[in-house]
Symmetry: C2
Subunit: 176 residues, 2 copies
């Protein structure tokens, strides 16, 4: 699938069929994740792939924003120890979340290219999910990516008109 088409057509999908993802699909999605750029090439991240419905359900209890159980869930985490030892405070406090977010966008585009739906979720208890997965203290779950076969593709949510959000040459200047 064309990259610009994937970027335009990807939607946040919250309702999934029960059909599981194949190992190959998941591997393609995870490969996409780790090709995202990372600050100083530190790659201070960890991705926990969960497909066990019971475990996904347990995570869902900490994530009120998640709708019916997706076929798979990627818990995208910062590795704070690696970030801070290799990149200092900026890396641990800011770059990790940027890097993880870019990796999640890659995963969602890859999922879309495979005909799958996805949704990124931040409204969950980081402490709860960390405990449930037995994460060490230095591994902080930042974002969840729900994955599955979409029941249907939702319509595009309203986008703000470009002139409201894109400024040419200077802030507040009207488009030329």
């Amino acid at each position: 699938m064309d990259v610009l088409q994937a970027i335009r057509e990807r939607r946040s999908v919250r309702n999934f069929r029960e059909e599981p993802l194949t190992r190959e699909q998941l591997e393609t999605i995870l490969e996409a994740a780790v090709w995202a750029p990372t600050g100083g090439n530190i790659q201070a991240w960890k991705f926990v792939v969960v497909t066990d419905p019971r475990r996904i359900n347990d995570i869902k209890a900490f994530s009120p924003g998640m709708l019916p159980v997706p076929a798979a869930l990627v818990v995208a985490c910062s590795d704070l120890e690696r970030a801070s030892s290799r990149g200092g405070r900026l890396a641990a406090e800011v770059l990790t979340i940027c890097d993880v977010s870019m990796a999640c966008q890659n995963m969602m585009l890859a999922a879309h290219a495979l005909g799958l739906g996805s949704c990124v979720i931040r409204s969950f208890s980081q402490t709860g999910v960390a405990r449930l997965l037995g994460l060490p203290e230095s591994i902080r779950p930042e974002l969840l990516v729900a994955l599955g076969h979409p029941v249907r593709m939702p319509p595009a949510p309203r986008r703000r008109p470009q002139h409201e959000v894109v400024h040419w040459e200077a802030y507040g200047r009207e488009p030329v």
Copy 2:
């Protein structure tokens, strides 16, 4: 260009030819930005596109990480007022940076699809760049995306092996 190919082949490009980008190229890249998902569809972002070499040079003074002047620079900002009024503290403190990061990844993939190079930069003075661009206090520059015609495509930086960063079903469990 195929989306998975773009994800795999995109590199952080830091050396650009002098050739400018066309308005159409920039518009395609900015369109890609605003198709990224945003928490609660709040779209609390602003993108300032700078192509004036003098102005880019001024920004470069606040950004030690930026190499020779790129053909264009997108200053990707959070709109903290919009985020906090529509999504509260979580939106202003966390979702904005996630949203802006995902938008930047879309821009870099779109640039790559157009045969252009890009590099995302976080090591700059947010205060300095905000002052230079005359941004209101509620508009915070989060990331810079340098854009241009690459002098050459750099080789892929070393990626950590998948088993170091991808965990299946549980943290620390070896691949099955």
